[in-house]
Symmetry: C3
Subunit: 215 residues, 3 copies
């Protein structure tokens, strides 16, 4: 992969992460019995919400979905297809089914958002924050559209924290000048893996309440 | 009207659509028993929310309410007036009463948002999306401020879909170089009319649930 | 203080107001039993939400938390410290405890937001609106993250209205060319004081409902 330009690598990551979050939104929407428009909205905001917030805050234009507007068509087609195809197969859409694409998107968007902010010479903590926001905001919008309390805020399982760790991997490895594709892969796979472990072993963040109980 | 400049036409549409959504917000706020500040906020976000989101995404400045700040005064005055005047007349504010200005604003903002995006040489699908967002986002903010689930997401009646159709009317007619005022009028009246029909005849979008039931 | 440059004064106010809102968010988060990540998010959006919205709308860059990213570290450290320290002391966090930093932040951010908009030669009503938004939006995001209906919308106690009054004090005193530090202090202390009085004496805004009852 080293002969790919950095822009090409970033583009591929953006596409895969966008697709992963779109899928998580689509599953969430189908579980809620949404109509076609609702499905398009919920998978659209899941997919493009985080990157768009990042680009607004960093004052970057054009947005991904403006310069690659083809993917808006892909999204609508996928939603249409899902709506009619899913009916036939009666797939059981468990809560778990959302978590796999969600974990993948989390890792990829974290790495990408941090990298983009570093390219713009943002301070490290701001770059970390951009990585977290890119990864988390799409899911927050998805949960709001589904009329649920955003998991990133209320669930005590680590989510934003893992994105924060993933961001610092990018920042740390960038400081020692590893090749970009390696940095992004290491960070994204670590975050995704940690998220998988967190779900599997039901890791819990300490909260005031739990700290108080343990007294 | 052909002797009006395109900027004048766009300005007139922005004013009428803004007023229509402000009215829908005002009625929603009064129904909820809001105080004066609440009324100003809810009619303000209904009126200016969609256009402001569009302008942030398209990186257009100044906003309508900055360059024509007179309309902020008009909004506050209307809210004050409504608050004291409505009391006297004991007007029955039915759910229906919101739908008329809402349908009008839907048509006008869709046409305008699409047109503005086309003027900035956005791809067609992005222009359509801008039309939909301009039209829908104000109402979404209105419903959130009223602590209700946004109708655009949860109601199975076509709403955003009609805005999407209205956008494509603008895009299609622009491609054949009809005069601007004619394009905007045709699109806005079609969308508003379709919305009226949808409410009157209780059109429903197909949802997963309804598809599954029909099996 | 007159020998301080205007930028230094604005910076000091931004820091104090940010800290006050961060504290209000922190208390709200602890009351909800949030984990560390939740605490960082809720105090972060409370602290930086209003100023960031103001800067996006005014197209000002860099954001306060980008150019002074040190304060992001301060926020995280404070949240960490609060989480472990508060447990020991079993401080009773009443609803009242949020209102003191909240009132302080309200006054300071109102004055600052209005001043910044006036510096950019915005019309008076737009400057007033920017003051109100800067002051109110952080608290709105805080309440949304805590899954509560924003107090600024639903509570009939004056809040945004006091910010509106504070804005006009800045606008009025700027018109007669008082020194900047005096304008900002007078406006901020008036707004904060009025908010204190409003809470103490349970001032109520007239609402449709109360008007109807009094008939």
């Amino acid at each position: 992969m080293p002969h790919l330009s950095i822009h090409a690598i970033q583009l591929i990551i953006e596409i895969v992460a966008t697709f992963a979050f779109a899928l998580s939104g689509l599953i969430a929407g189908i579980r809620k019995g949404m109509d076609l428009v609702g499905l398009c909205i919920v998978s659209g905001v899941s997919a493009f919400g985080g990157g768009t917030l990042r680009d607004i805050l960093l004052d970057r234009r054009p947005f991904f979905w403006v310069s690659h507007s083809f993917w808006l068509w892909a999204l609508i087609t996928t939603c249409l297809f899902a709506m009619f195809f899913m009916r036939e197969r009666h797939i059981v859409l468990t809560e778990k089914a959302i978590q796999i694409p969600d974990a993948l998107g989390l890792g990829l968007f974290t790495a990408l958002g941090t990298q983009i902010a570093l390219d713009l010479e943002m301070p490290a903590i701001v770059a970390a924050l951009m990585g977290v926001m890119t990864a988390v905001f799409g899911g927050v919008l998805r949960d709001i559209c589904c009329n649920e309390i955003p998991k990133a805020f209320n669930d005590h399982q680590p989510y934003a924290l893992l994105a924060f760790i993933g961001s610092w991997i990018v920042i740390g490895l960038s400081a020692v000048h590893l090749p970009e594709w390696l940095i992004l892969s290491l960070s994204a796979s670590t975050t995704t893996l940690l998220r998988g472990l967190a779900i599997q072993f039901k890791w819990q963040l300490p909260s005031q309440r739990s700290l108080r109980k343990s007294n």
